[in-house]
């Protein structure tokens, strides 16, 4: 993941990222919240072509929904994510190399 993922999250957008498998779980592990109305199951698919097809299907499905209403219903999530810049700490996993 890069700033391409974090930028929209902290600016109050919903996201549909195509990234390494497990990225969605990691985003939630960091502390961001994601809405239930988006099906992120494509993120668990390791075959990149299949993953892209699944994402595309989800994208098309989302276009059929009333996004304005869903946006209003999920505003709390967006507000939570806006605050994550200050609430989520730095990842210090690299410090493990000091213990090897």
């Amino acid at each position: 993941m890069t700033e391409k993922t974090f930028e929209p999250l902290t600016k109050g957008h919903f996201i549909l990222p195509l990234s390494n498998t497990g990225s969605i779980a990691r985003i939630q592990e960091l502390g961001f919240k994601l809405p239930d109305f988006i099906d992120y199951s494509y993120d668990l698919e390791s075959n990149i072509d299949l993953k892209f097809d699944m994402l595309l299907s989800e994208f098309k499905r989302l276009l059929t929904l009333d996004l304005n209403t869903l946006y209003q219903q999920n505003k709390q999530i967006l507000e939570h994510n806006k605050n994550c810049l200050s609430t989520i700490p730095y990842d210090n996993s690299i410090l493990e190399i000091f213990n090897v």
Binding site: M1, T2, E3, F6, E7, P8, T10, K11, G12, H13, S19, N20, T21, G22, S23, A25, R26, L30, S46, I48, L85, S86, I88, Y90, D91, N92, S93, I94, L95, E96, I97, F98, V100
Partner: protein
């Protein structure tokens, strides 16, 4: 002083380590960048790296920016085949099923740290941070009442200021070639980072079209 990390993806790594309270790295660790940002990864480079690594107890291979699945396969092969008794792969790939036999995987969200730091830390004037334009970027005035402004861009101006010009350069090439690998950097160039939002309603578009027509008509009078 930390001085063994090389490569564009590690340009600001020292500063980020200090944010985590680490002022120096273990002495017997050798760092090998996997992403070829500087276009230096040829046979001579690899032979040199292989010889240098023999003098260290531990070798840390690292990718600190997101890489695609194809590159990850290549990197995995390189790390797997590299002869050294103690190998670590420091990666931004958070896929927990990504494993390599006899290699310790450390997953580090360096890009989160970098992103957070851009917004919450003071940028030191004596350092050349990744994408930092030496203060030449314009102050960003974000108006959150305008929908399009929420799309925003990085405070370094890279999405708009840098990349617009970057695309102008690379369009003459068949494929993407990074500016840094060609020795072109924009660090000392003024960078635009403000954004005029696109019209979000039909009335605004009509007004803009009308203004354009008036401007064109006036221009015609003087031609």
């Amino acid at each position: 002083m930390i001085n063994v990390i090389q490569g564009i993806e590690g340009d600001d790594l020292l500063w980020h380590l200090k944010l985590l309270g680490a002022n120096e790295l273990p002495k017997n660790v050798y760092f090998i960048p996997l992403v070829n940002h500087y276009n230096l990864h040829n046979a001579d480079w690899f032979n040199n790296v292989r010889n240098q690594a023999k003098n260290f107890d531990t070798v840390v291979f690292y990718d600190l920016v997101h890489i695609g699945d194809y590159e990850q396969i290549i990197f995995k092969k390189v790390v797997s085949e590299f002869e050294h008794p103690n190998k670590i792969y420091l990666t931004v790939n958070q896929n927990k099923s990504f494993q390599i036999d006899s290699v310790k995987i450390i997953r580090w969200d360096f890009m989160w740290n970098r992103y957070k730091a851009y917004y919450t830390e003071s940028v030191p004037t004596n350092l050349h941070l990744h994408h930092y334009s030496h203060g030449n970027y314009h102050t960003i005035d974000i108006n959150y009442h305008l929908t399009r402004n929420k799309k925003f861009m990085s405070p370094m101006g890279r999405e708009y200021g840098l990349r617009t010009r970057l695309y102008d350069i690379v369009k003459n090439h068949d494929g993407y070639i990074s500016n840094r690998s060609k020795g072109i950097t924009f660090e000392n160039e003024p960078v635009m980072a403000s954004l005029i939002p696109y019209p979000t309603n039909f009335t605004t578009i009509l007004i803009l079209v009308y203004m354009l027509k008036v401007t064109a008509a006036i221009a015609n009078l003087y031609i």
